[in-house]
């Protein structure tokens, strides 16, 4: 290593309930560098950062800042040392205004003790402008889209004059241009001497913006070095311990008859939507934040009711105004934002799996626990769900395994068409591959699949047809062979649009 690192974490060990999570990890971050912290879910990244942030105390090991040993007794101490932690889960108070959130806990006050509202608004506006966000600081946070919330979270860290900012997956809900702006900002911060620890599963981003990296696997440091000399494949390999291809998963096979046909669907979030999906087809929908794709499919699934137009399933016109009817008609939805929309965190893994298809496990009105366990065992093996005891509540699993349980839930419901909204959100690479594999398997079995994703490469890898949406309209449709990332972006940003009405 080079001369004195700014922050040094030395042989940190930590166990939870007797299970070692960190087995003597050393991490060094220089002044003014962007350091990528990599590893699969469960590798110990979050624990390590929580120790640095004062949330957890290490069992052994020490932390040095500028060569001096410090004890991070709680998060306040950590903040006083100039460390800001931008959590993956957004810590926003949605009933407060933007500036109130930004200054929460460190409000500016005048001599008498009253709040200096205008000053706070001005600073908030300034820092948001740096991120290229134009939001009224007096707007309530609940009215904002997720991507804005994430940017506000980031601006909070910027205002606190941090010397080290920890970013845990800051780009999950950001659109491409917002990501670019964030990167620009990170580079500026770097120049002004701020260090950043950057946690992400998106290796391309990391390659673009990070100087050095550290890879953790199973609580151990496996590799650390400079980013320049590495390519993505070797890093991926060290993360999962085996090589993973970035190749397309696409499987060519003949499609069956049309399962879902949508004609002229219109609501306040989307307009004139026409498309059809056939048996065995994987259709992708991509676009930037605010393109209306989530709203479109939530409407199809009966979660939103105010829309006009015609929906046909297997040639029959159906009126779906409740998810139950969608299920009966043969639609399944694996929603985005798993924590809010998909998992029932107080129910066990087992009960989450069976929730949408209780009829399969009943006899005479009573639930047969044994059937449930048997079925879960089946999915556990089929989807490689890593859980020791399926009776623990689902929130104890890692993101990837939670998602697999949700997928199992919908497989068990045996719908003809499955909609996946952002299926790999916050999931590590290994589990991502498995989920893609599973989706392709489904299509092979003759199910129709729809994938919604903000990541163009993701839909390009697994979809047969790709629909690009912009401001509530389908602006382009590609077959898998025609599509390239640049073209997709052109249509997604609205800089190009196909003239002919498609459908």
């Amino acid at each position: 290593m080079t001369e004195n690192p700014f922050i040094q974490m030395q042989t940190i060990k930590k166990s939870f309930n007797g299970v070692p999570v960190l087995k003597g990890v050393t991490l060094e971050v220089q002044k003014g560098e962007i350091h990528a912290l990599l590893g699969e879910n469960g590798a110990g990244k979050s624990t390590l950062m929580n120790i640095l942030g004062g949330v957890h105390q290490p069992d052994s090991g020490s932390i040095y800042i500028d060569g001096e040993e410090v004890k991070m007794l709680n998060s306040r101490v950590s903040q006083e040392h100039g460390i800001s932690f931008i959590h993956q889960e957004l810590n926003m108070v949605s009933d407060l205004r933007v500036y109130e959130n930004v200054f929460l806990g460190s409000e500016l006050r005048n001599k008498v003790g009253f709040l200096k509202v205008e000053e706070m608004c001005r600073q908030t506006h300034e820092v948001l402008a740096k991120l290229g966000v134009d939001v009224n600081p007096k707007e309530y946070v609940r009215n904002l889209a997720t991507s804005y919330k994430q940017l506000i979270e980031i601006s909070k860290a910027l205002l606190h004059n941090s010397r080290l900012i920890i970013m845990d997956e800051p780009t999950t809900s950001l659109a491409e241009h917002e990501v670019n702006r964030l990167f620009g900002l990170m580079k500026n911060l770097k120049k002004s001497g701020v260090s950043i620890i950057y946690i992400s599963h998106k290796l391309k981003e990391i390659k673009e913006v990070c100087d050095r990296y550290t890879v953790l696997r199973d609580g151990e440091l496996v590799r650390t070095g400079s980013m320049e000399q590495e390519n993505i494949e070797t890093i991926t390999k060290t993360m999962v311990g085996k090589a993973i291809s970035q190749e397309r998963f696409l499987h060519e096979h003949p499609f069956g008859p049309v399962v879902l046909e949508v004609n002229d669907l219109t609501s306040d979030a989307f307009k004139n939507i026409n498309f059809a999906v056939r048996k065995g087809e994987i259709a992708g929908f991509t676009g930037l934040a605010g393109d209306g794709r989530t709203e479109l499919f939530e409407s199809l699934f009966g979660f939103r009711k105010k829309y006009t137009g015609e929906v046909k399933i297997n040639g029959q016109v159906v009126k779906i105004d409740h998810p139950r009817k969608a299920l009966k008609a043969g639609l399944g939805l694996v929603p985005r934002d798993r924590k809010e929309n998909a998992i029932i965190k107080d129910l066990s893994v087992l009960h989450n799996m069976s929730l949408s298809s209780m009829g399969n496990f009943e006899k005479g009105g009573f639930i047969k626990d044994k059937e449930e366990r048997k079925k879960f065992q089946f999915y556990k093996e089929a989807l490689n769900i890593k859980v020791h005891n399926p009776r623990i509540t689902i929130d104890k699993l890692s993101g990837g395994n939670q998602q697999k349980v949700i997928i199992a839930k919908w497989l068990e419901a045996e719908t003809e068409l499955l909609i996946f909204d952002n299926p790999t959100q916050g999931i590590d690479i290994g589990a991502k591959q498995e989920i893609y594999q599973q989706i392709v398997e489904l299509a092979k079995l003759g199910k129709a699949v729809i994938i919604l994703s903000s990541e163009a490469p993701e839909v390009m890898r697994i979809c047969h047809t790709i629909n690009v949406m912009f401001q509530g309209e389908i602006t382009a449709r590609f077959s898998a062979d025609e599509a390239n990332e640049e073209e997709i972006m052109n249509y997604a940003t609205g800089s190009k649009r196909e003239v002919a009405k498609i459908g």
Binding site: G18, E340, N341, A342, I344, D346, H351, L355, M358, I367
Partner: protein, 324 residues
């Protein structure tokens, strides 16, 4: 040598500690019950007397039945403040029906019907009207009491059919019938909540309503069902209450039952916001309240102070549960 041994056994010690904390988290209300029970037997020898024990059960049976329904409502993320008033209303109307028809069966069925209909209305307001359960049932609480007062002209109504009082005043083996009804209701609600899809859906709804809806659960119907269920149980409680003295007071019967029922549910470890809790917990919560009342009577604590002690216990119970 001894030192080394100690060191080697540390992981073991840690797991026992874990196991203890797990035991506490899962069964804290039962442990509290046992402590209270032992403490009471030491403090007052009369406590252990079998007649006293049966008396406690008899006294908690009505609140116990209501608390079972309250557990289900609170697991679904709601609350029902109208139980006391609905109990009075169901009692008053059932006595009128009883006297008019001369049939005990008609009287009982009327009580169940009035209770479940009031619950159904609560459910409609919460599910379809999207009114917060606290507000909707607060309205029902005022409304039902007022109608009861109006019908009974502010006073009591008494049964005129012989045999009606037998429901609450006979016994079976050593147990009074109300106690048996309480046990049967507890068993039924237990089975409903842990062995049928209704229960599973209630937990799901209380834990994450949006995810439950997106899992294709008929959330609205579940809510209506939950409030109808507690209404029916209130009807059962109304029959016992009326039959015990062969009369029901439109002004005082059932008053503050909602508070006792909610207290029992909370002491039993059910989370206020729903999704987590156990029927067994509520059973012990009810028993804890019963023992407290009984002990305060045995020890001649002023009835004016009894509310204070009860309030203290509720707060202590919740503070301990927060620890986990």
């Amino acid at each position: 040598m001894a030192n080394i041994n100690v060191k080697e056994y540390q992981p073991e010690a840690r797991t026992t500690k874990n196991r203890l904390s797990w035991l506490w988290a899962e069964y804290s209300v039962i442990i509290a019950f046992i402590i209270l029970f032992i403490g009471s037997s030491i403090l007052n020898p009369r406590f252990l007397d079998i007649n006293n024990q049966l008396n406690i059960l008899m006294q908690v049976s009505i609140i116990g039945i209501v608390a079972m329904g309250m557990t289900v409502v609170m697991l679904s993320g709601g609350i029902d403040l109208s139980v006391g008033s609905v109990l009075a209303l169901a009692g008053v109307i059932s006595v009128l029906a009883l006297n008019a028809s001369g049939s005990i069966l008609v009287g009982v069925l009327t009580a169940l019907l009035v209770g479940s209909f009031a619950g159904f209305l609560n459910g409609l307001m919460v599910a379809k009207g999207r009114i917060a359960s606290f507000i909707a049932t607060l309205g029902m609480m005022a409304g039902a009491r007022s109608i009861a007062l109006y019908i009974a002209d502010g006073g009591s109504v008494s049964g005129e059919v012989t045999g009606f009082t037998a429901i609450a005043n006979s016994d079976f083996w050593i147990f009074d019938v109300p106690v048996l009804i309480f046990f049967v209701m507890t068993a039924l609600v237990y089975v409903l909540m842990h062995k049928t899809r209704f229960g599973r859906y209630v937990y799901a709804l209380g834990s994450n309503e949006k995810a439950a809806l997106l899992s294709a659960i008929r959330v609205d119907r579940m809510k209506i069902g939950v409030y109808t269920l507690i209404g029916t149980l209130v009807g059962v409680a109304a029959v016992i209450e009326t039959s015990r003295l062969n009369s029901i007071s439109s002004s005082s019967s059932g008053s503050q039952y909602e508070l006792d029922a909610i207290a029992a549910v909370i002491i039993g470890g059910t989370r206020m916001t729903g999704g987590r809790g156990k029927i067994i917990g509520t059973l012990f919560g009810v028993l804890i309240l019963g023992i407290l009342n009984n002990m305060m009577n045995l020890m001649n604590v002023s009835p004016h102070l009894q509310g204070f002690v009860k309030g203290l216990i509720i707060i202590i119970a919740v503070v301990f549960q927060k620890r986990e």
